[in-house]
């Protein structure tokens, strides 16, 4: 393995991919060699997923070439990918999931070999993972599932992993586990493997990547050794202004009366923006869902709801896929504007048009199907749905997932304005930067509130302290 520094694994030459008129990828030349750790960054719609799918052989290029050095196909060449959305079979065990992606595993003893292989891979990447090879996947937490998926990606599976593509691998992992993964990536690259690493956490990119590639509008706009970038420079190249100072100027209005206090200790005042923080998967989303369900009814229609919900997991919790943008927005105000049970179509159209311009949904016509929008714009529709209603309490479950920086800035401003008008927001976010904009922050740990921060106490250090402190104690 002495020459691994320049052993090419995959080479793309002017590779392009068009979907109809849409140029998802517009001529990209790129080579990945053994030992490379490439950080891939870019906004939504920049072409990251398409590029990944070309490299892993999931899509064929419309023009240009892709050459795998180790064999004819990505599979033979040892190119694997771990996808953003969870792609395990929930009804199978961890070992059986390995079998799915390891077709050479056959014969009577396959189960034993599968167990040994996945155990070895998990042990290597995530020491002390505590995951049984015979656990059924739907009994695992989201973070554990993502760990299993990553472990399967790195497992030998009959050949050898030479290039592993990780698309947002740390999105559900807490920082400790993410750190283990980053360490493993560095070891893997040092021993001659290659990694393409996609993350919205620029810090992680700088920690592991040896080279950073910036995609924009389907092209590579910059490619340098990671030392040659600064965080600010990287964000500038991506095309949006970085939200360096997230603080909103101006004194906050006087706190209103308390409108919410749960048994768990969650409290909010009128006009307050309350943040929920802590490590991912520590009960924030459940607390919010429970709060929403307990304050709304599955039986009683309500003219003016007490609470509305902004989903972060759009396909699961937010988007009604068969409908237009208009209907997706108006569902929350139908009962309020209805006359004798009939839909008030004028009011509906007016509200949709108003919110389209207020929140800047990028579409010619609100009658277009919701799925014609990009992820970020779909998210804006979900915000519009919630804000269009009169509900005094707005619950947001990590709503900025997969949203580009520009949209985020628009939405932050809008939330501020609505709060000033007396609405209360409960905002769970996995990004500490966002939580730091709130008036009050509850930090969750192990499904309990471990700290309540207000005013100047709201800082990344304090939040981290509260997220971790008790873990050492127990």
């Amino acid at each position: 393995m002495s020459d691994h520094e320049n052993a090419l694994i995959v080479t793309l030459d002017q590779a392009a991919k068009h979907f109809g008129r849409l140029r998802a990828l517009d001529g990209v030349s790129l080579s990945v060699a053994a030992g490379d750790c490439i950080g891939l960054v870019g906004h939504n719609g920049a072409g990251k997923s398409t590029l990944v799918n070309l490299i892993n052989g999931g899509l064929a290029p419309s023009s240009g070439t892709i050459v795998f050095s180790g064999g004819d196909t990505a599979h033979v060449a040892g190119v694997r990918s771990v996808f953003q959305e969870l792609s395990l079979c929930p009804n199978l065990t961890v070992a059986e999931n390995l079998k799915i992606s390891h077709s050479a595993l056959k014969g009577p003893g396959w189960r034993r070999s599968a167990r040994a292989e996945i155990r070895a891979s998990l042990d290597e990447i995530f020491p002390d993972h505590g995951i049984s090879a015979d656990a059924q996947v739907d009994m695992l937490s989201i973070a554990q599932r993502q760990m299993v998926e990553i472990a399967i990606g790195f497992a030998p599976r009959g050949t050898q992993a030479r290039l592993v593509i990780l698309d947002e691998p740390t999105s559900s992992l807490d920082e400790g586990i993410a750190g283990q993964l980053l360490a493993h990536i560095r070891r893997f690259c040092a021993s001659g493997g290659a990694v393409v690493f996609i993350s919205h956490m620029l810090g992680e990119i700088f920690k592991v990547a040896s080279r950073i590639i910036v995609l924009k509008d389907g092209r590579i706009v910059d490619e340098r050794a990671s030392g040659a970038f600064t965080r600010q420079g990287l964000v500038d190249v991506m095309g949006h202004v970085a939200p360096e100072s997230a603080q909103v100027a101006g004194a906050r209005s006087d706190p209103g009366s308390e409108i919410l206090r749960t048994a768990q200790g969650l409290a909010a005042r009128k006009g307050e923006i309350v943040g929920l923080s802590g490590l991912a998967g520590h009960g924030q989303a459940e607390a919010l869902a429970h709060l929403y369900l307990s304050r709304s009814s599955a039986w009683r229609p309500r003219k003016s709801p007490e609470v509305v919900f902004v989903a972060g997991d759009r396909p699961r919790d937010g988007v009604l896929p068969l409908w237009s943008i208009l209907c997706n927005i108006s569902i929350s105000v139908l009962q309020q504007t209805a006359r004798r049970g009939l839909v008030n179509r004028q009011a509906e159209t007016a509200i949709a048009a108003e919110w389209k311009s207020r929140i800047g949904v990028r579409t010619d016509d609100v009658r277009n199907p919701i799925l014609s929008l990009s992820g970020g714009n779909q998210q804006k529709v979900l915000f519009a749905r919630a804000l269009a209603s009169q509900a005094p309490l707005v619950i947001m479950d990590d709503p900025m997932r997969g949203v580009d920086v520009g949209t985020k800035q628009d939405v932050y401003a809008m939330i501020r304005a609505e709060a000033a008008n007396g609405r209360t927001f409960l905002w769970y976010s996995t990004e500490t930067e966002e939580v730091c904009q709130c008036d009050r922050v509850f930090v969750f740990r192990n499904h309990e509130i471990s700290a309540e921060l207000t005013g100047v106490d709201i800082s990344e250090e304090k939040i981290l302290e509260a997220s971790f402190a008790m873990q050492e104690a127990s």
């Binding site: 999931g58 079979c89 009804n91 199978l92 799915i100 992606s101």
Partner: protein, 309 residues
């Protein structure tokens, strides 16, 4: 994360045991070789049909044509297999292959299985009428002998049920290909991404369903000695109920072959139980429905308790 969620098989076993105990209590004479044989006499074809339905439910589809298909297989067995065995077996093989082709078609064109199988129920039923316009035919001797064999210790129906459950357990739960098939039900996209041809897997699942459907038809003829075009129409609903009673779920590839066989036994026993109760024939069907509801209620209560602890 509770015990019952992990061991889904327990509740079906308990339901069967309770019903069996109640039957023994009502009619102690059934607690014998011949008694059991009588109780479970018709269980074999129902168990085979339930396993067939399970293959389809395993890949997230549902088969509304199974009853008609089993009837057709029974008609073919009672006529062609009896008269011209080679031709008869070839026809049965063709039926299995057509099931596999149906699975491939449903997957390739993304058709709703519930509707295609609904249409196929007309087709199978029509073919059966074509072969046997009026009840008749005859069971082949060897099949009759096989279905009425008296093994030592336990009656034929019980032995057959155990064999069916062991074979299908090995095939679906233990083997590699069975794991991949269940994976199709759990997450077809990730199976496809791992390089498997989902269309072949679906064809395989449907083909297996066809195979077990044909076996169900043959077993039924072996017991009934003749056939008619409507002989097994109620198997469609019985088999679905059997899979669910056995702890299976309609989506997500969560099925249990052993559970399915036990579910089929429970349904058969329910019918026998009711006739021992000397219930007015008016109410027999309704009581079967009530038992189905009761068992599922019990399951709900126990799994709630399990979840609470």
């Amino acid at each position: 994360m509770n015990f019952l969620a992990r061991h889904r098989i327990i509740l079906p076993v308990v339901s069967l045991a309770v019903l069996l105990a109640a039957t023994f209590y009502m009619q102690p004479r059934t607690m014998s070789y011949f008694g059991l044989n009588l109780l479970f006499n018709l269980a074999v074809p129902i168990a085979l049909a339930t396993v067939a339905q399970m293959m389809i439910i395993m890949v997230n589809d549902i088969d509304l044509s199974l009853g008609a298909f089993v009837s057709l297989a029974a008609c073919v067995t009672a006529t062609f297999v009896n008269d011209t065995p080679v031709l008869g077996l070839l026809i049965l093989l063709a039926l299995v292959l057509s099931y596999a082709a149906l699975g491939a078609l449903i997957h390739a064109l993304e058709l709703p299985a519930i509707v295609v199988t609904l249409g196929m129920s007309f087709v199978w039923g029509g073919l059966a009428l074509f072969i046997l316009p009026s009840p008749g035919g005859q069971s082949p001797e060897w099949l009759r002998a096989l279905m009425t064999v008296k093994p030592p210790f336990a009656p034929m129906a019980v032995v057959a049920a155990v064999i069916i459950s062991v074979v299908t357990h090995l095939l679906i739960v233990r083997s590699g290909i069975g794991t991949v098939l269940r994976g199709v039900g759990g997450n077809a996209r990730s199976v496809a991404r791992a390089g498997w041809s989902v269309i072949w897997l679906k064809a395989l699942a449907y083909g297996l369903a066809g195979l077990f459907g044909v076996l169900a038809g043959m077993a039924l003829v072996g017991l009934a000695t003749s056939a008619d075009a409507n002989i097994a129409l109620r198997y469609t609903l019985l088999s679905i109920a059997g899979v669910i009673l056995g702890g299976g779920e309609f989506t997500g590839g969560k099925v249990s072959p052993t559970g399915a066989v036990i579910g089929a036994l429970t349904l058969t026993l329910a019918a026998s139980f009711l006739s021992f109760m000397r219930l007015s024939p008016d109410w027999q069907i309704g009581a079967q429905g009530a038992i189905l509801i009761l068992v599922l209620t019990a399951r709900l209560i126990f799994s709630r308790k399990g979840a609470a602890t």
